[in-house]
Amino acid sequence: MHDRSILLVEDNPDDEALTRRALAKNNIQNEIILARDGAEALDWLFGTGPHTGRPAVPELVLLDLKLPKVDGLEVLRRIRANPNTRLLPVVILTSSREERDVVTGYGLGANSYIRKPVDFGQFVEAVRQLGLYWLVLNEPPPHPDAA
């Protein structure tokens, strides 16, 4: 069952606020689940730690790379390694345009790689396109638990 939520993995509160604002500006109403670091994100997805038995099944993961505890690329690796989350759309949303991050990200099975622009106008535009594509146009894969 998709609960149409978006898992936002972001440690920087400013970026969190700006992302929420950009989503709101684009009228994207989906519930936002926030994870402050990689470990928390994995707890949400796999129903572990504080979320034991209650895994979130988001429609989209917006993943920052530079995270405390478990970094973004490692989170992506675990998501792709787990049969339950193997097909989950993951969009890397980060400041870096470092080649190795881009190459590694796609190599681990990221669905998109979007760099957060400094210009907030451009950022709103990017989030608009992202939301349109992944939440409206894109047909999500069936959830493995779906009966």
């Binding site: 400013d14 970026d15 700006l18 345009r97 470092e98 400094v118």
Partner: protein, 714 residues
């Protein structure tokens, strides 16, 4: 021969025995014959004696008969027998005396016979005389009384005695003769038999000897033929000279002289042939050597000799003097070999040795010298003098251990080096050595054992190089390599730091800018009413500064990125790349009227990604700085430059003052106000860095208001 006697001796002995036997048999036969003849003589003698005796008796009887007839008849004719008996009887008696002269017994009987005969004859004469004078009767009485009958009887007795004696002698002699004849026959037969045996044995021996001799002759003939062939095919001419005093006269020379010298077989036997053809320059020397031949009985010498064709050949002549029992020189025999080829080889060997000697002598960078088997210096070259400092006269005969350092000498290294060279033929080491002035040098030393044809050690060849400079250079190189390694390590650390820095810049430095810009925008949106124009303007400036800072960070990261990572050099089509970039620029601002002229087939070797950044920057600049011109023109092409090709991007834009050309390629250097032409001042720095990484050059020409041209090579 088995018995220790030679065949000749045996034959001699055999013949001696045969001759002895023949002489013995002959003597025996002769003696037997003589005895036979003598016996026959004695038979005849006996018969003659008997005949004479009977004739004497008969003469007497006839004389008596005649006398009686006369007496009776008185007829004188009856006296004839008496007359002839008187004549014959004395001669018969004399003959008998001669015949029996060797027999005293018969002589004695003859004496009495003569007396009797004489007496009877006297009686006859008396009777005759009586008849003549006395008549018949007286004569008859004389006859009757005359003892005539008794006398005849006595004569008959004497004659018979003599005859019997002769018969007895005859018988005796015949017996002796027969015995002798038997012996002679036996001797003759056995002699003949022996002679036949000897003849057969001698014949067999001689036949055998002759067969042996024929065999020996055949063998000898073969040997001689072989010897001849050998001589003929030999390269050595054999000769003989008779010696008389000090003069030689050739007596024999082997046939191959013709093949070897070209002269006919008789020419070498001419007395002056040898001396005539001896090279004039060698003549005196060779003749001066002649006394040595007499002194030592042999002589080996070499000289040039003129062949029949007139060409001189080198000849090796070995002569030997033969003497008779008295010690007088009689003959010189010798051999003679053409050694021209060997001489030539020797001459060329000497020449090449000389060349080698000159070569070795003139080598300056290597000390090349010889040691004797004990290690004493035997030769010295210029290089040796140069490197070690000793002159030839100083060092010859000195032991080579003086080139070693005292500690090496104490460790007996010189001897060990020679031992190693002897054992494995060659010894090589690098070590310190001493010069004459006591200074040390780093030497590369090769010692090679030198052996003669039979493998006996004749010494060592030493080649020494002064590697001090190289050693120093090596040490310096090692030091700088070490330094370089340290630099490289430091550089790597710095690079890692830089990478971590730019990674962190890329992530963390932009986040606050986003907040600045984002929240400024939020203020402008959400608090628009509470801000006056000035407040809104300030927030716009905050946003613009944040965005410029973001661009700056991106350009800086891009500049740092081009210095990292490897170059993937392939062939890059610059024409296609420039065309694509021009199209992109035109799409970004379709209002602009910029005419691009891009030469076709511009091909370079470089990293495609970096080439794209270069053209992006250069075309971007051209696009930017022609912003105030319409229509503008941008040309991309290539030209010959410095033996290769240079590419260029030319525009007719704002241009620049060449006085500032040096500043163009520095990071953050700008020649125009940013409000006039925006930019970070990092683009050309990035271009230069990429071109330099490719090993190329980049430069620019410009005139203010007329445009600029950027050139680069790869």
């Amino acid at each position: 021969m088995r018995m220790g006697l030679s065949l000749e001796r045996r034959i001699q002995v055999g013949f001696g025995i045969a001759v002895a036997i023949i002489v013995a048999v002959g003597t025996a036969a002769l003696r037997s014959t003589e005895a036979t003849v003598s016996s026959a003589h004695w038979v005849a003698h006996t018969l003659q004696v008997r005949a004479e005796l009977e004739a004497t008796f008969a003469d007497l009887i006839e004389a008596e008969t005649g006398v009686r007839g006369y007496v009776i008849t008185g007829d004188t004719t009856y006296l004839g027998p008496y007359q002839s008996a008187r004549r014959t009887l004395s001669s018969r008696l004399a003959g008998l005396r001669g015949l029996t002269s060797d027999n005293p017994a018969q002589q004695r009987r003859l004496d009495s016979l003569e007396t009797l005969v004489a007496t009877r004859l006297e009686r006859f004469q008396w009777t005759i005389d009586t008849r003549r004078t006395g008549g018949l009767a007286a004569a008859g009485r004389a006859m009757i009384g005359g003892r005539g009958k008794e006398l005849i009887q006595q004569v008959h007795e004497v004659v018979t005695g003599m005859e019997d004696d002769e018969e007895r002698l005859l018988a005796q002699r015949s017996a002796t003769l027969q015995a002798r004849a038997r012996v002679a026959r036996l001797a003759a037969w056995s002699g003949a038999l022996l002679a036949i045996i000897l003849a057969v044995v001698a014949g067999a021996l001689i036949t055998r000897e002759l067969a042996g001799r024929r065999r020996a002759e055949r063998t000898l003939g073969e040997t001689q033929r072989r010897f001849q062939q050998m001589l003929a095919s030999s390269t050595a001419v054999i000769y003989a000279n008779a010696v008389s005093g000090a003069t030689f006269s050739p007596t024999w020379v082997s046939e191959n002289v013709t093949r070897i010298t070209g002269y006919g077989p008789d020419e070498p036997l001419q007395p002056t042939w040898w001396l005539d053809n001896l090279h004039p320059d060698d003549r005196a020397r060779v003749l001066a050597e002649m006394p040595a031949l007499f002194a030592h009985a042999q002589l080996a010498t070499e000289y040039r000799f003129r062949g029949k064709d007139g060409a001189y050949h080198w000849v090796h002549d070995e002569a030997r003097l033969l003497r008779d029992a008295a010690g007088k020189p009689t003959e010189v025999v010798g051999s003679w070999v053409d050694i021209t080829d060997r001489r030539r080889a020797e001459v060329s060997l000497r020449a090449s040795e000389e060349r080698l000697r000159l070569l070795v002598g003139s080598v300056r960078d290597y000390a090349i010298y010889m040691l004797d088997p004990e290690g004493h210096v035997r030769s010295w070259n210029v290089g040796a003098r140069q490197i070690k400092g000793y002159t030839e006269s100083e060092i010859l005969g000195q032991h080579f251990s003086r080139f070693y350092t005292p500690e090496d000498v104490a460790a007996e290294k010189p001897a060990a080096a020679l031992r190693a060279a002897v054992a494995s033929g060659r010894f090589e080491e690098e070590n310190w050595r001493l010069r004459k002035d006591g200074s040390r040098f780093w030497a590369d030393v090769v010692i090679t054992a030198v052996r003669d044809d039979r493998g006996a050690l004749v010494g060592f060849a030493k080649v020494t190089r002064d590697l001090t400079e190289r050693k120093r250079a090596e040490q310096a190189l090692r030091a700088s390599e070490e330094q370089l390694r340290q630099y490289a390590t430091q550089l790597e650390a710095a690079n890692k730091e830089l990478e971590a820095f730019s990674y962190s810049v890329s992530h963390d430095l932009r986040a606050p800018l986003r907040s600045l810009d984002g929240f400024s925008q939020a203020l402008l949106e959400d608090y628009h009413d509470r801000l006056d124009d000035t407040g809104r303007d300030f927030l716009q400036r905050v946003r613009a500064a944040s965005q410029r800072m973001g661009t700056l960070i991106d350009d800086l990261l891009s500049l740092s990125r081009v210095t990292r990572g490897g170059l993937q050099v392939t062939e890059v089509n610059l024409s296609a790349l420039a065309t694509a970039l021009a199209a992109e620029l035109q799409r970004s601002d379709p209002q602009r009227d910029v005419r691009f002229a891009i030469a076709p087939d511009l091909v370079a070797r470089g990293d495609p990604g970096l080439m794209r950044i270069v053209l992006q920057n250069l075309l971007g600049n051209a696009w930017k700085f022609t912003g105030k011109r319409s229509p503008a023109r941008v040309e991309v092409g290539s030209m010959a430059h410095d033996g290769g090709r240079a590419f260029f991007v030319q525009d007719d834009g704002a241009g620049f003052d060449m006085a500032h050309a040096a500043k163009l390629f520095g990071a953050f250097q700008r020649l125009h106000a940013s409000d006039e032409f925006p930019g970070s001042g990092i683009g050309l720095a990035t271009v230069q860095r990429i071109i330099h990484r490719h090993g190329g050059q980049v430069w620019a020409e410009g005139t203010p208001g007329r445009g600029a041209t950027f050139y680069f090579t790869l």
